[in-house]
Amino acid sequence: MIKSILKAFSIAFVSISLTLISTVSSAEITINWPSIWVGKDSKTTVINELVSEFNAANKGQIKVVIEAQTDYDIYAQKLTAMIATGKLPDVFTVGTELMDALYRSGKGMNLASHIGSDSHWNDVYPDNALESNMKDGKIFALPYELFVTPVTYNKKLLKNAGYDEFPDNYADFFKMCQAVTETGKVCTSQMTGKNAWTSMLWYSQALASVGGPDIYEKGLDDPAYVKAFEIMREMYNYTTSDAIGADAGVSGGHFLNERTAVFMNGPWFIARYTSDGIPGLHENIGVAPAPMVSGGKGGPGGYVGGRQSSLAAGKQSDPKKEEAIVKFLKWLTTPDNVARLSYSSGAMFIVKADLPDDMDRLFTEMNAQIGEAPYVAPIFLNGIGSLPISNEFPQALSALVLDEVTPEGAVQMLKDAQ
């Protein structure tokens, strides 16, 4: 009896041990990536392809799993909580507004040693690009996506209003808006909902035009902040009735459906003019720098933009997993892959990549204008360097537009938010 029990126990023990050994030895490293490049994002298709190709090439060793994050604001909040608790994802994208918190937490993977030991990084990044993300000798994030925000306008609707070109100053711009309104269309897409993205971009453009590209160094007491709000107040006379409280879907939707003539967003939206716009919309679209404020410190043709996102990783205790993550980051920053992403989505990347000659027309036109731009100033969200202030901006803007406050009062609301 006892012999039988011992025999059975031995067999069981050996079986379990062999199973465990085989499991450990063939352990596939899983990399979790909560990605915002999902759903309607213009980079979704190629990102999925890149992940599939990487997984296929590393089958049985590394597997990247995308966790869809369909709302950027919610993703940003989730990431904020993760940074605070130190439980960062394996791979993630991080915006400029959270970089300081990421560095202070010390919970990100320090990529400096990998960068120093592998020539890939210096080959694919422009000079000083990586150093600009270095703090105290550490690099927690790789600069990745860039953006600028040109004006996109519907040439057909402007032509119907008697305009063959987009005006280069606000006086003529508002005359154009009046003319567009008289044709029965609405001139601009605006929004005060969520982070007031579209309107915030317009405000950023006006601010840089009035105060110069270094306006954020001058503080909220500079009169440029008031003047820019005056322009926004006028702007809202030529927008849709649902602009107050509207989110990006509403604001963009009006332009995609040809209800509005003028829009502002980043290059990632280029692909959507074809995929989500009414038939023929893309062919009717032109890009231009924002109008200039006469007498302002910014010159004609100025742009706003900056770093849209950086690639980062959570600190790992397993060296093998760390190596796997670095391998995946290298894959994402390979010039050919970046070129594919840029070609399909219209997005811009800091990684040096040879772009095909048949890039989207709008992308090519925008690039040409950037080349001649006197400056690319930061957007307000990033340049102001204060989450409380940028959080309060939509409320200050809606208060201004509803005539609850004057432009001076709107600036005061931003100051009070600190």
Partner: protein, 290 residues
Amino acid sequence: MKIKKDEIIWLILFITPAISLFLLFFIIPILFLFITSFTNWDGISADFVGLKNYAKLLNNKTFIRSIINNLYWCLTAAFITVPLALIIALLLAHRSRGWKVFRTILFIPQVVSSAAIALLWLALYNSEYGLVNYLLDYIGLSEYKDHNWLGSIRTAQPALIAFSLCYVGYFMVIMLAKTAGISEEYYDAATIDGASQFQKDLHITAPLIKSAFFLCIILAVIFNLRQFEFVYLMTNGGPANRTSVLVLYIWKELSIQRLGLGNAAGVIMIVIGAILLIIMRKILKSETYN
């Protein structure tokens, strides 16, 4: 009843899990909240700042507005939603033909995601393509054709609160269930005395479901003190912070890493909730809802 010595150990063993859970998930978090409310904790570091957070909050217009808005939500629930639920419960208590269908229809919003309802109403209220303006224009109120209900200082808060009346079904079901326990003898006696249906509802049904009515008021106030998803999804506290509520305010502070300040707001919210409960107990008199 005197507890025997050998029973004390079993008593302790049986209540320890409950006490532990209560400590772990209620007392300790509240203590943590209270302590960190005196710091400038941003999720990474924290320095003691004394009462600075509380002073900042009490001088912040948006925070005060949030408290007032929460009181609006609570008063609307207590004086409109729950009484409306009472009237509907009294009507359905007659068990007239089709009463079960109406009961089901009124309860449907409870089983639908509140986020889905909020987004649905966001579309209905849209000034460019929403059904509300279309219907108003159709019946001749063309001045509302392009009205932005959620983007107007005057109408944003009422528009937000108005659609929340669709949750009347929850309270209606509670009071309707209470009517099932009323003895038919009361109604028989009233019928013999020549009482009308209205008189029966007023003098028999309503008094006998008073405890359920008061319970519903308390629940309604508690629910609306915690109001968040409708405001977040539909207005995000706008326009101009006019529809902000306490939980949204706290959430915004936490999301920009002002955790000490957010926690101070949380402490104030707990105090407000406690005061409201004490007031309600005194007004409604505790013995009536036992």
